[in-house]
C-alpha cells in the first residue's frame, strides 16, 4: 500500500531534513510525488515542495532564524570563494571542505559586521555547530576527518539570494 522507504521518507521530512537527488529515497518520492503531496497535506497540513534537486516540507510555521543563518552562511562562503578565484557553483556542488578552510574564509571575510552580528557564525565553535545544524537538515554531509560537502539542498539558499534582484532592471547586465 505504501511505497518502499515510506517510514524513512516521512521521518526524515518531519525532522526538517531535505531529501536530495543524492539520496535513494528521492526517487521514491519522485515516482510517488502526487501521493506524498496529498499525504502530507491531508495528514498534517504540510506542503511538500520539490524540484529536480530536492524535496522538503514547509508548514505555516517557519524557523526563520535558522534559515537566515544558513542563507548568510552560503552568501558569505560563495562570496569569499569567488574572491579566491574559485568557481563557487562548482565548489559547492562537487568539492569537500575542511572545517578549518571554512573557518578561514569567515575569518578573512570582508563581511565582518554581518558575521559579528550572527550568533551562529561569529566564532569557530559556533560556526562548527552551525554546520552541525546543516548536517542535521541534510544540507551538508560530514565526510570524516572534519571534512564536509554540501548536498543539492544548498541551492535553495543561493537561488533565494540570486532571485532577490531578479526583478530589478539589469543595468549591470553583463
Amino acid at each position: 500500500m505504501y511505497p518502499d522507504k515510506h517510514k524513512e521518507i516521512v521521518t526524515s521530512l518531519m525532522e526538517g531534513k531535505f531529501i536530495t537527488v543524492e539520496d535513494l529515497s528521492y526517487e521514491t518520492i519522485n515516482k510517488n510525488e502526487d501521493f506524498y503531496i496529498t499525504f502530507f497535506e491531508k495528514s498534517f497540513g504540510f506542503e511538500l515542495i520539490g524540484n529536480l534537486d530536492f524535496y522538503y516540507l514547509v508548514s505555516n510555521e517557519t524557523n526563520e532564524n535558522t534559515s537566515r543563518d544558513i542563507s548568510i552562511f552560503f552568501s558569505v562562503l560563495c562570496y569569499e570563494l569567488d574572491k579566491d578565484g574559485k568557481n563557487f557553483l562548482e565548489e559547492l556542488n562537487y568539492s569537500e571542505f575542511h572545517i578549518d578552510e571554512i573557518i578561514e574564509y569567515f575569518k578573512n571575510s570582508s563581511w565582518t559586521d554581518v558575521i559579528k552580528a550572527n550568533k551562529q557564525l561569529n566564532n569557530d565553535e559556533n560556526l562548527k555547530r552551525h554546520i552541525g545544524t546543516m548536517v542535521k537538515r541534510n544540507i551538508a554531509v560530514k565526510q570524516g576527518n572534519d571534512r564536509y560537502s554540501f548536498t543539492k539542498a544548498h541551492k535553495l539558499f543561493i537561488d533565494f539570494a540570486k532571485d532577490l534582484i531578479k526583478d530589478e532592471k539589469s543595468e549591470t547586465k553583463v
Binding site: 524557523n63 534559515s67 548568510i72 578565484g85 568557481n87 559586521d113 532577490l164 553583463v174
Partner: protein
C-alpha cells in the same frame, strides 16, 4: 639610419633582456616610459645604456619621455605572446582594406598587369595582417578572461563584472561578428568571396604569372580559413562559455551582495521557509542542535514591554492579623462562617468568595478549637452572584477548653 651591425643589436638585446623586459612592461601598463621611470630602471640594473637604446632605435623619444620603437614593441609582444587586444575598429580597418582591394581587383581585372599583380600582393598582406590580428586578439582575450575568472588580483566582484562587461561589449562580441559566417557583412564572409573568385581565376586567367599569384592567394586563403575557423571555435567553445560563467556567477554574487549589504539580511528580507520539526527524543543524535535551534528562534525576538494597566483596580488584601485580633475579641463564636461574612462585609459590601475563603482560613489556626454547632445544621452565605451553604461551626479559644 642605424649604423650598428644587426648582430650587435640582437646581442645587445640579449645581454640586457631583463631591463628591456621591465621597460616593455612599463610601456604596456602606461603606454609610455617616462624619463624618470627610465632613469630609475637603469639605476636599478646599474646599467648606463641609454645612449645605445636610442642609437639602436629601440627606444624613441616622445617629447621628454620614451617609447619602444614600433617594430621592437611588436617583437616583444610576439615573443612574450602578450598582445594588447585590438579594438574591433582596428581590425575592421583591415577588413575595409581587403574589401577595397578586392573590388579594385574585380573591376580592373583586365587592366594593366602590373597594377593587378601589386593589388593581389597587397590583398595577401592585408589578409595576413587581419589573420594575425584576429589570432592575437583571441589569445589575449582568452588570457584576460581566464585571469578575470581566476581573479588573481582578488578584485571585488563589481569591478570584475565591470571588466567582463567591458571585454564583451568592446572586444568579444564584435570579434564574434567579424568571424560570424552567418553575418553577411562579416570579414570572414568577404574572405570566402575572395576565395571563390581566386579559385576561378587561378585556372581561367589568360596570363600565367597572374594565374600563379591567384594560386598563391588561393592557398593563403585556404590556410586563413582554417586559422580563422580555429579562432572561431576557441571563441565559441572557450571564450564565450567562460564569459557566460562569469555572467551567471555575477547574478548570484549580485544577490549575495545585496543580501549582505547594510545588514539587509537582518531586516525585511525573509529567508526561505523551512520546516520546524516538532518531536524530539533525548536519544536523537541531533538533540543538541534541535534544542539549540528551538531556543534560537526566540533570540532575535523583540523585547516584550509590559505596559501597566492605567485603570486602578480595587485589590482586596487579607489582613490576617487584624481579622484574628477581632476574632479573638469576639470569642467564643457560635457561627463562625456568619461571623466571617459580617466581618468582611464591614470592610467591603461587595465581597467575593475568594475573599471570603481567605478569611475562613483562620479556622485552621492552632489557637482555636472548632466544633459543629448542635443548634441549626447549616447556614447560607451569599453575595451578588451565588450562594454557599456552609455548616454551622462553633469556635473557641484552646485555653478556654483546657480550663
Amino acid at each position: 639610419m642605424i649604423k650598428s651591425e644587426p648582430k650587435s643589436i640582437l646581442q645587445f638585446m640579449a645581454s640586457h633582456y631583463d631591463l628591456l623586459r621591465e621597460l616593455f612592461d612599463i610601456q604596456v601598463k602606461n603606454d609610455i616610459i617616462t624619463k624618470e621611470s627610465l632613469i630609475i630602471c637603469l639605476e636599478n640594473y646599474d646599467k648606463d645604456i641609454q645612449e645605445q637604446l636610442t642609437e639602436y632605435q629601440i627606444l624613441v623619444e616622445q617629447n621628454d619621455d620614451f617609447a619602444f620603437n614600433e617594430p621592437y614593441f611588436v617583437l616583444f609582444e610576439f615573443i612574450h605572446q602578450k598582445f594588447k587586444p585590438l579594438l574591433p575598429e582596428e581590425i575592421e580597418h583591415f577588413g575595409q582594406a581587403i574589401r577595397t582591394l578586392f573590388l579594385k581587383i574585380k573591376e580592373g581585372i583586365n587592366d594593366d598587369k602590373n597594377i593587378l599583380l601589386e593589388r593581389i600582393e597587397a590583398l595577401s598582406n592585408q589578409i595576413k595582417k587581419f589573420t594575425n590580428a584576429v589570432v592575437n586578439n583571441t589569445k589575449s582575450l582568452l588570457t584576460e578572461s581566464k585571469e578575470l575568472k581566476a581573479n588573481n588580483k582578488k578584485i571585488d566582484y563589481q569591478e570584475k563584472i565591470h571588466k567582463a562587461r567591458y571585454l564583451i561589449e568592446n572586444y568579444i562580441s564584435p570579434l564574434n561578428t567579424i568571424l560570424d559566417v552567418n553575418h553577411s557583412q562579416s570579414i570572414y564572409n568577404e574572405l570566402l568571396n575572395v576565395s571563390q573568385f581566386t579559385n576561378v581565376k587561378r585556372f581561367d586567367y589568360a596570363d600565367e604569372s597572374i594565374r600563379r599569384e591567384f594560386e598563391k592567394l588561393y592557398h593563403l586563403l585556404r590556410q586563413v580559413a582554417k586559422d580563422l575557423n580555429l579562432q572561431s571555435v576557441t571563441l565559441t567553445n572557450e571564450l564565450l562559455p567562460l564569459i557566460e560563467r562569469i555572467k551567471t556567477e555575477s547574478q548570484y554574487l549580485r544577490g549575495f551582495h545585496y543580501y549582505l549589504t547594510n545588514g539587509n539580511c537582518y531586516k525585511e528580507i525573509e529567508p526561505p521557509r523551512i520546516f520546524v520539526s516538532t518531536r524530539d527524543n533525548i536519544y536523537n543524535k541531533f538533540v543538541y542542535e534541535n534544542t539549540k535551534e528551538y531556543f534560537d528562534q526566540f533570540q532575535h525576538e523583540e523585547d516584550i514591554i509590559v505596559v501597566e494597566d492605567s485603570e486602578q483596580t480595587n485589590d482586596w488584601l487579607f489582613d490576617k492579623s487584624k481579622y484574628k485580633e477581632t476574632l479573638n475579641q469576639n470569642l467564643p463564636i457560635d457561627d463562625f462562617f456568619k461571623w466571617c461574612e459580617h466581618s468582611i462585609k464591614e470592610e467591603n459590601e461587595d465581597f467575593s468568595f475568594d475573599n471570603f475563603f481567605m478569611v475562613t482560613s483562620l479556622l485552621f489556626e492552632e489557637d482555636y478549637e472548632v466544633s459543629v454547632s448542635k443548634v441549626g445544621k447549616s447556614v447560607s452565605i451569599s453575595n451578588e452572584n451565588s450562594e454557599l451553604i456552609m455548616p454551622k461551626l462553633t469556635i473557641k479559644k484552646q485555653e478556654d477548653v483546657s480550663r
